[in-house]
């Protein structure tokens, strides 16, 4: 437990560092927000100066940073100019949307990648191994907006099976009372079966698009790790002792092969959560990736800083979770060793 506590304490300097880094990075960007936001053609130097003063950009850098820290201490991430909303409200609205999509996609990818990777490792060079390779290559090679548009074209435009690919709920549905911000649990908590189905239907295509992308690293990693483990001495020993094949593969080999898979899973999750801008765009999904990118392109720095802060916090959390999982899978390594 001491290890766990140490890890949690280590969060403090990490987040402080991220705060400073995100502040300095946005300051280093060459664009001048006051100029950018004085975007009316009648704006002259006086207009720009007035805006700069209003946004506090005329203060010395250290004062701006102190003001930012004071603001953070109050739990205020600032105001987004691009959306006109407080950054904290925006992130609170969008993070669950991204997380729900990512978790659904990751779940689907995992359900497909694990059996596929295991089967491919058990019979290297077989048809299923090739199928695994083709699917992985296609998943990585096809940009996700192409896959997304293709799925929309087939399932919405032609077959009419999928709902209109716009957002998390169809525009006429009433959103459930917000408990978690995740629509699937929230609709269930509200006892709204139809709402659950509607939300799930909206989720299928974007999740499938993302799952295809996440499939490749997971399936390849499972296959490689399984191959490695299956060739090791203790598996040979288990075979020699005449243990059942099923037991060898699932209990001995898979458990040992899971370590790198779980580590990859953490990495894939983090990158999918914040960087799936294209899928979010194509499906008009109100996620945080496109939010942060729009803010960056629009020289709207408060959301960028807020996004970096929240993502850093999440990343640390995910890493912690991955380490914990690894410790459970293999007690010799990881966090709980000295527990």
């Amino acid at each position: 437990m001491a290890g766990l506590l140490r890890r949690l304490l280590a969060l403090v300097p990490v987040l402080l560092g991220v705060t400073l880094a995100s502040f300095l990075l946005t300051w280093l960007l060459p664009g001048d927000p006051a100029v950018f936001f004085a975007n009316s053609v009648t704006a002259d130097a006086a207009t720009v100066a007035a805006l700069r003063a209003k946004m506090g950009l005329d203060l010395p850098l250290w004062q701006q940073f102190l003001a930012y820290l004071a603001q953070l201490a109050r739990g205020d991430l600032g105001q987004s100019i691009q959306t006109g909303q407080p950054v904290a409200a925006d992130l609170l609205q969008r993070l669950p949307a991204s997380a729900e999509l990512t978790l659904a996609a990751l779940g689907a990818a995992l359900l497909l990648a694990l059996p596929l990777g295991i089967a491919a490792a058990l019979r290297p060079g077989s048809v299923i191994d090739h199928a695994c390779r083709v699917l992985s290559v296609a998943g990585v090679a096809l940009p996700s907006f192409v896959t997304g548009l293709l799925l929309i074209y087939v399932f919405y435009f032609h077959l009419g099976l999928a709902p209109e690919p716009i957002g998390r709920l169809d525009p006429f549905a009433i959103p459930p009372p917000r408990v978690t911000g995740f629509l699937l649990p929230d609709t269930l908590l509200a006892g709204d079966g139809a709402g659950f189905l509607a939300a799930a239907r909206q989720l299928v295509l974007p999740a499938a698009t993302m799952a295809l992308f996440a499939l490749a690293p997971l399936a390849r990693m499972t296959r490689a790790a399984m191959l490695d483990v299956l060739g090791s001495d203790f598996i040979r020993a288990a075979r020699a002792h005449g243990l059942r094949r099923r037991r060898i593969v699932l209990s001995y080999a898979l458990r040992n092969a899971l370590l790198p898979v779980v580590t990859t899973l953490g990495m894939v999750f983090s990158s999918m959560l914040g960087a799936n801008v294209l899928v979010e765009r194509v499906f008009a999904w109100p996620g945080i990736g496109s939010y942060a990118l729009d803010a960056l392109l629009g020289l709207d720095y408060a959301p960028v800083q807020g996004f970096m802060l929240v993502m850093a916090g999440l990343l640390v959390g995910v890493n912690l979770l991955v380490d914990l999982l690894c410790a459970i899978i293999d007690p010799r390594s990881g966090l709980l060793r000295d527990a």
Partner: protein
């Protein structure tokens, strides 16, 4: 927030009940569907305050329809039958009439007696005064109103409950048109004042996220960045009652997704079509595509006239002759728009500007001019464009690079990350670049005053010619007439001969809609007027 019943009603209206309303009657649905409009756009409004910092163009779409102004521009029919605003006629919106007196220095506006805000309270001259005062008291509003000689609150005087006088130091052609722009909306001052604070006397914080007006539509609900629901203000008196009772406006960032939704029949009207989509949708003919060249808007190639070699007029002309205009127009815009190349060279063709500059592709002449400029072997330069304009700017940049390369000018392309070109232009640090801009008021002298004059970044060429400068300043308060026309023609001739920036084209504003949606009207701000639309 919306009530469950409202949603069900709306869903029934849209003919998309999906089990929400128990027994949807087909005929009732058909009737009410005719009264609802579903609009998809690329972006969402970031403010409901027309003069907040960084207010985006989607904000205009909201406040244009949710607020009234004192005046509005008239309507003309374009040759293809599309409606368009007419800068040269003004009509009353909240003002039923106006009088100009004191040799043009005083304008008295008389409000409609029956005009009411959304909360039912009458629109009074006090509300108008507060709203106009607010314009001149906040930086972005003041900069705009200054173009119409309105700079101080003392210029707006309440005469009685329904009339207000605007006085200007000199008669100014631009005072009245300024009142018809998108920005000077009339607020319900009683409500707005209640939300003002000492630090924020003009309620900027509150009006950013709230509507306090009396326009043709009310804002019923708003999910930031995702959707807005508007309903018709049945008590609206400032014009013919809009045909649509409800407008559901949703944000769909991907152009392909918007197009698919329109073609599948789920959306009624889709804004921000890409030029290539406009071309192919028009060919397929499943939906209606209306394309109007954006008056006042222009794409251009800028040259910093203060930096060598662009300080030499022969170099600028050489580049203007070297550009492959037609290829650029086809590659970048699929020829959707009005060309500003070709046309009469060296002299004005009428008094409207932008107009074609009189340059066309002529490589031999370009080389000759370069030799005359003392640069027979060309020179090296960088060509910058903002990545947010990449779909149009990238093909342009490549063609510029290729064509100028043949004339000996070695061009390095510099892609500036989104939003940062403005900062570089403000510092006058870019020699050669691609940009676009637009002016809301149509007269040529206004255009020149912004884009060919002064120290701001909007003088994209950093053009500084003593004669031109004198003409710009002289025409500022010159009334329309022969003298004004002669001065404008001289300025146009100079803009053509000295070519401080090379105008390329006015892009088309392409909007897709179902065939039964009619009454689309093109406006100077290029956003949707929901008030004139109807379903046939």
């Amino acid at each position: 927030m919306m009530q469950r019943r409202d949603v069900a009603k709306l869903a029934a209206w849209m003919g998309l009940s999906g089990g929400l309303s128990a027994l949807p009657l087909r005929r009732a649905q058909a009737q009410s569907r005719a009264e609802s409009l579903r609009v998809l756009t690329e972006g969402a409004p970031n403010s409901f305050d027309p003069i907040g910092p960084g207010v985006n163009r989607y904000a205009i779409e909201l406040h244009w329809n949710a607020y009234d102004r004192l005046l509005r521009f008239g309507t003309v029919e374009r040759p293809d039958g599309t409606l368009s605003y007419d800068y040269f006629t003004l009509e009353g919106e909240l003002a039923e009439r106006w009088e100009v007196s004191e040799g043009g220095r005083a304008i008295t506006l008389f409000l409609r007696p029956d005009a009411r805000f959304h909360d039912g309270s009458p629109v009074t001259a006090e509300d108008v005064k507060w709203s106009l005062d607010r314009m001149v008291s906040l930086p972005i509003g003041r900069a705009q109103f200054a173009t119409g000689s309105m700079t101080g609150t003392e210029q707006f005087t309440v005469l009685d409950a329904r009339s207000i006088r605007i006085t200007t130091p000199r008669p100014d052609r631009f005072t009245l048109p300024n009142l018809a722009l998108a920005q000077p909306v009339i607020f319900n001052a009683r409500i707005a004042r209640a939300h003002a604070t000492e630090a924020d006397p003009w309620a900027a914080e509150w009006l950013r996220t709230n509507v306090a007006g009396g326009g043709a539509f009310r804002l019923d609900s708003h999910t930031p960045g995702q959707s807005l629901l508007l309903s018709r203000n049945d008590e609206w008196k400032s014009g013919p009652l809009p045909a649509f009772r409800r407008v559901l406006w949703q944000v769909v960032p991907s152009a392909q997704s918007r197009r698919i939704s329109l073609e599948r029949g789920d959306a009624d009207l889709v804004q921000d079509l890409l030029p290539q989509d406009a071309v192919s949708m028009r060919e397929e003919g499943k939906v209606k595509v209306v394309g109007v060249p954006m008056t006042g808007a222009f794409h251009f190639i800028g040259m910093n006239n203060a930096l060598p070699p662009f300080d030499n007029v022969k170099v600028r002309q050489a580049i203007a002759y070297a550009l492959p205009y037609r290829q650029m127009f086809e590659a970048a815009l699929f020829s959707r728009g009005a060309p500003l190349f070709g046309g009469t060279a060296g002299e004005a063709e009428g008094t409207l500007f932008p107009q074609p500059l009189g340059y066309d592709t002529d490589p031999a002449r370009a080389r000759a001019l370069l030799a005359e400029a003392g640069l027979p072997d060309g020179f090296e330069t960088t060509f910058s464009f903002d990545l947010s304009l990449a779909t149009v700017a990238e093909p342009v940049a490549l063609l510029v690079q290729e064509a100028l390369g043949k004339a000996g000018i070695r061009v390095t392309i510099n892609k500036v990350p989104g939003g940062q070109l403005g900062t570089l232009l403000e510092k006058k640090a870019v020699p050669f670049f691609y940009e676009s801009s637009a002016a809301y008021l149509a007269p040529a002298d206004y255009f020149f005053r912004i884009f060919y004059h002064g120290p701001t970044r909007w003088n994209f060429g950093s053009y500084d010619n003593a004669e031109f400068k004198a003409l710009v300043e002289r025409t500022r308060f010159l009334p329309e007439g022969a003298e004004y026309d002669a001065d404008v023609k001289r300025m146009i001739a100079l803009a053509k001969q000295e070519v401080p920036i090379i105008l390329l084209w006015q892009p088309a504003l392409d909007t897709g809609m179902q065939k039964n949606v009619e009454g689309y009207k093109y406006l100077f701000h290029r956003m949707l007027d929901m008030r004139t639309l109807k379903r046939s």
